[in-house]
């Protein structure tokens, strides 16, 4: 095993240990202990208003697979979906999720199914709530536009891997006067979201969605662990830069 692998293992073990520690021994913290991110307040309000008004929520999960780096933001989207489906389980119009990748589409259907099963409302489950709208970025966008522009959809959330085609979905959502919010792991999509979404989530803010929307205690614990690991990473970069400057590495 080389030094890089060893450093990787230590980093992951420390990260996992911190998540487990905060979840197990410091579970009492609430999202109010986190810094204020206005997007999450609006998302919470958007979910509540949609449920009260009998309108629909749309969650776009993008077209990244789950077997590589691009899958992280899609998996965060699935956590968000679970939270939304739980909140809207009594709504007249259950939420809808669109994806451009088959495994994400099936996981979104599975998320709906398990939430409705846990809420004893399995009859509400509709496989079409988790839609695969296309298999290329633009065909995905073309299919998602139909959902985002539906007048019954009052909130459009984005969490996943997108490219520039996210602009087309955002435009459809804006023309529908719905709330638009979300983030992506892709920098191009991130820039478009910043310009076009009402409440963009920048960088790691997206990954904190589960903590702010209270999906489960592990999300809050992982945000706290992330804060520590960020310092560890920054320290490592600084030490590396100093060692490099003195020719020691």
């Amino acid at each position: 095993m080389n030094a890089i692998s060893l450093a990787g293992i230590i980093f992951l073990a420390l990260f996992a240990g911190l998540i487990a520690y905060f979840a197990r021994f410091k579970p009492g913290s609430s999202p109010s202990s986190l810094r204020d991110i206005p997007a999450f307040s609006r998302i919470r309000r958007g979910i509540g208003l949609a449920v009260e008004a009998g309108q629909q929520l749309h969650l776009a999960l993008g077209h990244g697979g789950i077997a590589d780096f691009k899958g992280g933001s899609g998996l965060v989207g699935l956590s968000l979906l679970e939270r939304i489906a739980r909140a809207a389980s009594n709504s007249d119009r259950p939420p809808v999720a669109t994806s451009g990748e088959a495994s994400l589409a099936f996981l979104s259907q599975d998320t709906f199914k398990s939430v409705y099963r846990l809420m004893y409302s399995e009859s509400q489950y509709d496989p079409e709530a988790g839609q695969l709208t296309g298999l290329t970025p633009f065909s995905y966008a073309a299919g998602a536009i139909l959902v985002a522009s539906d007048p019954q959809v009052s909130t459009n959330l984005f969490s996943g891997h997108f490219g520039s085609e996210i602009g087309l979905i955002l435009d459809a959502a804006e023309q529908n006067d719905s709330l638009t919010s979300g983030g992506s792991d892709d920098l191009q999509a991130q820039a478009i979201l910043y310009a076009a979404a009402q409440e963009p989530l920048v960088g790691e803010e997206l990954y904190a969605a589960g903590a702010y929307l209270q999906v489960n205690p592990y999300h809050l614990a992982s945000v706290r662990a992330q804060d520590i690991m960020r310092w560890v990473l920054a320290g490592g970069i600084l030490v590396g830069a100093v060692l490099k400057a003195f020719g020691l590495i």
């Binding site: 709208t133 997206l206 592990y218």
Partner: protein, 206 residues
Amino acid sequence: MKSYPFVYLLAAIAIASGAAVLVGYFFPSLAGLKGEMLDWAVIFTAVLLLIGVISLVRTHWRKIMQDQKDRAYSLVLIFSFTLTLLVAAPSGPTSKWSMWLYENLLIPIESSLLGILAVFLLYASARLFNQRMNIYTLLFIGTVLLALLGWLTIPGVDLEGFKDARDWLSSVWAVAGVRGILLGVGLGTVATGLRILIGADRPYGG
């Protein structure tokens, strides 16, 4: 709430598979195990793709049958799917006619969407002033304008200063910002992966 024993089996499979790939990544002697798991993942993904296509067609077929709104789009999808299947299935995806469909239908349609996107982005940048008028918005628009001016070539006008400023912005400030964002995204992705590895997040029906 009910608990389902099957959920624990799913969690065990997910955790064991994830751990096997992770261990294989760090220990070269176990790379074979990682490769085996990834091969299985590729096979499952291919099967899911096939089921996904069937599901997509079924959804749109139902829309047509139930006379739902926007059924015209569903009709176009079914027609395009059938045409592509008839052309590509007998001769393969890289045959002359498959490539003809790709080059003369798919690429022009996607290019036109890209064209619309350019117009939308311009519109979105202008709308940003109304939506969020703050220092960051001004910085965003200012950077966009400076980058655009840096790309311009006007005969008889010396825009070297703008080009230098654009290069300085993109190679110093933008790269630093991008690295910061990517570090955040990386940390978030690792945290998401670890939550799944320790069974805290179960997006597979748990």
